[in-house]
């Protein structure tokens, strides 16, 4: 590992030592963050998986009812039946903070209080297949909205985990070793300087003694 381009001085040494402690502390914190994010993510993704499989299955069932309904009813009739909806869905979105990641939380409100009040048509001229399809969709709606919440959360968490993991790796495999190497280099260099000045002093002392005592 290459060392950093620094002057081998005492000042630089104490500065680098401070940076190393910060880096190690940061590394530990980020690692904890990553582990906790991962735990939350795995919980969510499992829920997401089962929810999605369920929703896709139910939605396909509802769709097949729709296809049957449109086969037995005239297109205009069906369009007219669905033209003026009774129900409206409003979503109140707030954010929940999971390890500094904002994930959405949805609360749904419907225009009419009765959740079952969904049929925007009289039953006289429509096929029962249509009733079935609409009812299935209405039952599915809470799950669909929960899926929207969970799936968005997993995406946001996945992005954050990726980012955190990069930072942890960069600290662990680049920053910290480099700082350690540089600190070692400076310590060595300072010790070497120390030794060389000491030998120089001893040599000078010898020379001076020799001169004054005419010592051979």
């Amino acid at each position: 590992m290459a060392i950093m381009n620094v002057n081998p001085t005492r000042m630089e040494l104490s500065r680098l030592k401070k940076r190393l402690t910060t880096a190690i502390r940061g590394h530990k914190l980020l690692k904890d963050k990553r582990d906790e994010l991962m735990r939350q993510f795995l919980d969510l993704i499992r829920e997401n998986k089962t929810l999605r499989e369920q929703v896709e299955k139910d939605l396909q069932a509802a769709n097949s009812h729709f296809v049957l309904a449109s086969a037995v009813m005239q297109k205009q009739q069906m369009d007219a039946a669905l033209l003026s909806p009774k129900q409206e869905v409003y979503i109140e979105a707030s954010a929940r903070n999971v390890m500094s990641v904002d994930v959405p939380v949805f609360r749904t409100k419907t225009r009419t209080a009765d959740q079952a009040d969904i049929f925007s048509y009289g039953f006289a001229f429509t096929s029962f297949e249509l009733d079935e399809a609409v009812e299935q969709l209405a039952q599915l709606l809470p799950q669909l909205l929960r899926l929207a919440e969970v799936e968005k959360s997993t995406q946001l968490l996945a992005a954050e985990i990726e980012k955190t993991r990069r930072r942890v790796n960069a600290l662990e495999h680049v920053m910290i070793p480099r700082l350690q190497e540089t600190i070692r280099y400076i310590t060595m260099k300072l010790e070497e300087n120390d030794r060389s000045s000491r030998t120089r002093l001893m040599k000078v002392k010898d020379m001076m003694l020799e001169k004054s005592h005419d010592f051979h």
Binding site: I45, L144, K152, T154
Partner: protein, 105 residues
């Protein structure tokens, strides 16, 4: 207060009007892209997109994937399930964990 929208071919999404979602039919990529951008920018917290339509909108969907809202969710249409939804989950897992540990059975 947000609304929820459904985007896709008319046959697949017709029924959602009855349960109170706003329905925006579109039949090709040229229609879908500006429509999606408009919905994403204005007042929709959740946008359900049929899988077929989602394939035309890859770029647009990725552009909003880092934002908290809107939440864009692919759903199967009348033409059947292409597995796009599960594939997206897989990508999330691979991104977070490094390899797929949930869907590898």
């Amino acid at each position: 207060m947000y609304r929820a929208a459904v985007l896709g071919d008319i046959e697949s999404i017709k029924g959602f009007t009855a349960v109170g979602l706003d329905v925006y039919p579109c039949d090709n990529a040229e229609q879908a892209a500006p429509l999606f951008r408009k919905l994403a920018a204005g007042g929709y917290g959740v946008i359900f997109v049929t899988e077929e339509t989602a394939q035309w909108l890859e770029k647009e969907i990725r552009a909003v994937s880092e934002q908290v809202l809107p939440s864009v969710i692919p759903i199967p249409g009348v033409k059947g399930n292409t597995g796009l939804g599960i594939r997206r989950l897989k990508e999330s897992v691979e991104r977070a964990v490094g390899s797929d540990i949930i869907f590898n059975n």
